[in-house]
Subunit: 197 residues, 2 copies
């Protein structure tokens, strides 16, 4: 039976859309059981709804972190989710939530971790002057972007690169490797070329 | 006029040999003015001598760091060195020495800095579980492998990689990009393919 994904997002959810496209195209044998947004105005929530997916709004504004995360966990359990995928989810998860789902929460980060964890990873990379950056799919643990690495991709940083150009170049790879990593972990189809630059 | 390199080494000096090969093959328009070893038994010193280069032994054993570095600086000045290249030089440079030659000392490090600075970079990479590693040519400043980056190269970390296999894969790229970086900085010939993975 296909593994069931729960996707958490707060914005446009471009990584969610890439995953949904992989599923729709038959490249990834999983089921998107639920897409949860903590913000009513997240375009990704609308995108999930218009694709006929189970799109759930759980507004977080003003809520205490763990109280909110208990709601979130209940929604995830209700949908029998096997793997939780953060896709631009702009809210820190509580240690309680992370301990509830050990090695079952994935995130994608726009750098070659362990370089440039935290916010503004692409800007950090530009300012540091690295010649290559990339993105990383990793398990979420209680540290900052520090969980075990599942998949990475590399992109060059070009002379005169703007933040926008570099971010777009990395984002294309994010869209590729997130599905790839989910395939690896769920036994869903593995896309050829995995692990290559 | 060709820029003059001073090379510091303590061991086999495989990066020195790669640079010397680039010079001999006409791929790099610089002159190797002096090769200095702090150890009498460094095979790289013999290699320099047998290539007819100016090979100088300055034994460091038992010497106080700055006193030694003052000898080193004198030897470098005597040879009118424009650029100092560390090539497996297993002795920390004193802050005094580093301040004497600002932005004129290069090092090569076997990781994609800022990831995995310090000793055993290849082992650190394996233990962290990254999918890509590489090497970095950088200016030496007073921090630990923290100076401005000049050139980098990426290699994949393969499933089941040993430390030896990964180190060898990285070393091949070290041999390529050190010459490349020297060419960039000295106006010597730039090798095609610079910056590519």
């Amino acid at each position: 039976m296909s593994k069931r994904l729960g996707i958490l997002l707060s914005g446009r959810g471009s990584n969610f859309i890439a995953i949904a496209d992989s599923v729709a195209a038959g490249r990834l044998d999983v089921e998107i059981a639920v897409v949860i947004s903590n913000r009513a105005d997240a375009p990704g929530l609308l995108a999930a709804h218009s694709r006929g997916l189970n799109a759930v709004l759980l507004p977080s504004r003003g809520m205490e972190r763990e109280a909110y995360d208990r709601q979130l966990a209940a929604e995830i359990r209700k949908n029998n989710v096997d793997l939780i995928c953060l896709a631009g989810y702009l809210r820190l998860l509580s240690p309680w939530f992370i301990r509830e789902f050990p090695m079952r929460i994935l995130n994608i980060h726009p750098s070659l971790l362990p370089a440039f964890p935290g916010l503004d990873a692409q800007r950090q990379a530009l300012e540091h002057g690295v010649k290559f950056s990339g993105c990383t799919v990793h398990y979420v643990d209680e540290g900052l972007d520090s969980g075990p690495i599942i998949q990475q991709a590399v992109v060059p940083v070009l002379e005169g690169d703007t933040l926008e150009a570099l971010s777009a170049r990395i984002l294309r790879e994010e869209h590729r490797i997130y599905s790839e990593a989910i395939g690896l972990l769920t036994g869903g189809k593995r896309i050829l070329g995995s692990g290559s630059v």
